[in-house]
Symmetry: C2
Amino acid sequence: MATAATINDVAKMAGVSIKTVSRVVNREPNVREKTRDLVLQAIQQLNYKPSLAARGLAGGRSFLIGMMYDNASDSFLVDLQRGILRACRERHYGLALCPASRAEDRTADLMEWVVSTQPDGIILTPPLSDDQSLVDRLIDANVTFISVSSTGTGLGPSVLIDEVDAARSMAQHLIDAGYQDIGFIKGPADHACSDLRFRGFEMAMNSAGLPVNSDWVKVGEFDFDSGVAAAEQMLKGPNRPTAIFASNDDMAAGVINVAYRSGLNVPKDLAVAGFDDTPLAQHFWPGLSTVKQPIIQIGQQATEYLMGLFEGPPSGDSNEKTKSGEQSMVLPYELVLRGSTGA
Amino acid sequence: MATAATINDVAKMAGVSIKTVSRVVNREPNVREKTRDLVLQAIQQLNYKPSLAARGLAGGRSFLIGMMYDNASDSFLVDLQRGILRACRERHYGLALCPASRAEDRTADLMEWVVSTQPDGIILTPPLSDDQSLVDRLIDANVTFISVSSTGTGLGPSVLIDEVDAARSMAQHLIDAGYQDIGFIKGPADHACSDLRFRGFEMAMNSAGLPVNSDWVKVGEFDFDSGVAAAEQMLKGPNRPTAIFASNDDMAAGVINVAYRSGLNVPKDLAVAGFDDTPLAQHFWPGLSTVKQPIIQIGQQATEYLMGLFEGPPSGDSNEKTKSGEQSMVLPYELVLRGSTGA
DNA sequence: ATGGTAGTTGACAGCGCTGTCAACGAAGGT
DNA sequence: ACCTTCGTTGACAGCGCTGTCAACTACCAT
């Protein structure tokens, strides 16, 4: 194995002590600019990369960002990872994955992982970010965390889009396109976004003076099969909606599937809208109108914000109270209109 | 942060030296059974987890498995991660992700990551596993690696399915279903499996006495758009195939998309088969017939095999020559037949 | 000149663990 | 009785880095 240069080599080359190299690497203040340049030059020449292990051991940190997830869609996970990795790379952090287990005591399992991995910060994805018991334990354990794509209602900082407005906006699009009998498929109750998306739908309907028919509001599990089930119920009778807004793409795909099997033309007989812009949405025929969240960006920003939380102000006297503040960053969503709503 | 127990606590509790605890943790030989039990008990009670950082620093290893990938499909990545993590968890290893950059000198970038991360072993996914220059550099650097889902022709050990037979088998299914005019969409040349899958297709056609029409053999990029392009070419004229075997699902989805837009009924006017069993394949209507690779298992087995390579025999006198041997493990594939081929 | 302050640097201990080596007792051969 | 061998255990150094603290250098005010 091509053995990497150590801090000693750099120090010798730059003619300073290893401590000074350490200062430069960690962007500590109070290093003369000339000295810093010397060190940086040596680092460049030797292609020096600090050892995570040694830094972690000595500094009591792990230089690891933990990503906890459960049951999320593949594309969401991969995109989020992309964003996180992008932020990690710059600061020489690593990413540690923690898929939630299927065990009955999920929280205990996750906490064990936290204790054994000791990540410096954790990124929580839905539905974990909406899990009060988990969040409580994390706060107890004094672990810095941030949640993505989730409300953050009293559950620490988060990076997300305005779910209500996004859903409202998509519903408005359906209404503008002339659809009036619109059904809705909600997500599972343990996802905070389920309610928000429904609320946005209601807002658009109300402001257009359209009724929300409770027969046309179903609850799904964010997966294909539950979309099929919900659609079958809504579409079986003669009194059926002319458009269905599913609160994620997988369920919308299920709706389109049912439409095909029932001989309904999309969008002529039935318009379908989704949420998330998964690859699925692009590959269907007709293409699925959906809401695109900037997942990669969300991952990156969340990571950067998270790092800010525990790197904190250099002169920080462990003023930990601010940690679970209600900060949240709202990123812009994008309405992606394709054939399934008549575009 | 709930601070974890250290090796010292365990040693004190068991009434032995920390070295003995270390021996037990590392499954080293020459520890009396009674002593081992004492230590194990203490470990249990204190819920002790060794610190990766300290182990790595002291032992010159990182306890990290690297996963290098480039441009793979989301579901493939996530499933592979699942398998790898499963294997890692047991042995207290971590997983470090290394997405290939878009830079022109990809190999250099990847090697820099290797040097800075120092993973104990690397899992290579296609098309990286077929990249001779990368593999050469890895061997030079004396890094242990294994490739998954790739031929392993002289490029180190690998875990895979019998691609040729899988493709042959799917083609045979089309032939058995009565299709004779069968088109094929190959993958890009830098994926070793592209040739193998085509070879399997040829084998089935030849042994059934059917001609392989070169107008009906196109090369795609393993993505949706190239599937669309290939299908458009094959289907535009009057002399068109009655079935198309795309060598992955994304391209098959493109074919189905074109069929819809051309008013062709799948499978009546055109049968379509894919390869990979991505979620896409299940969600299309009709469902896409495809070949399912046991990705999770592949990931797990590859990881376990990889660990065996560098943990090696306890009495190993650095006999590194065996490292780049031609070992490969072949796992069973599964033919998943759905509506797109008339099931 | 003298003292005070802030900016800059290095010596040194030690993070939690593993590798090396030496110490010890038990078992076996002479 | 002796020496040898082997299995078992612990003392100790040190992995590459950071935190602490002390030293040293300006530089200003007195």
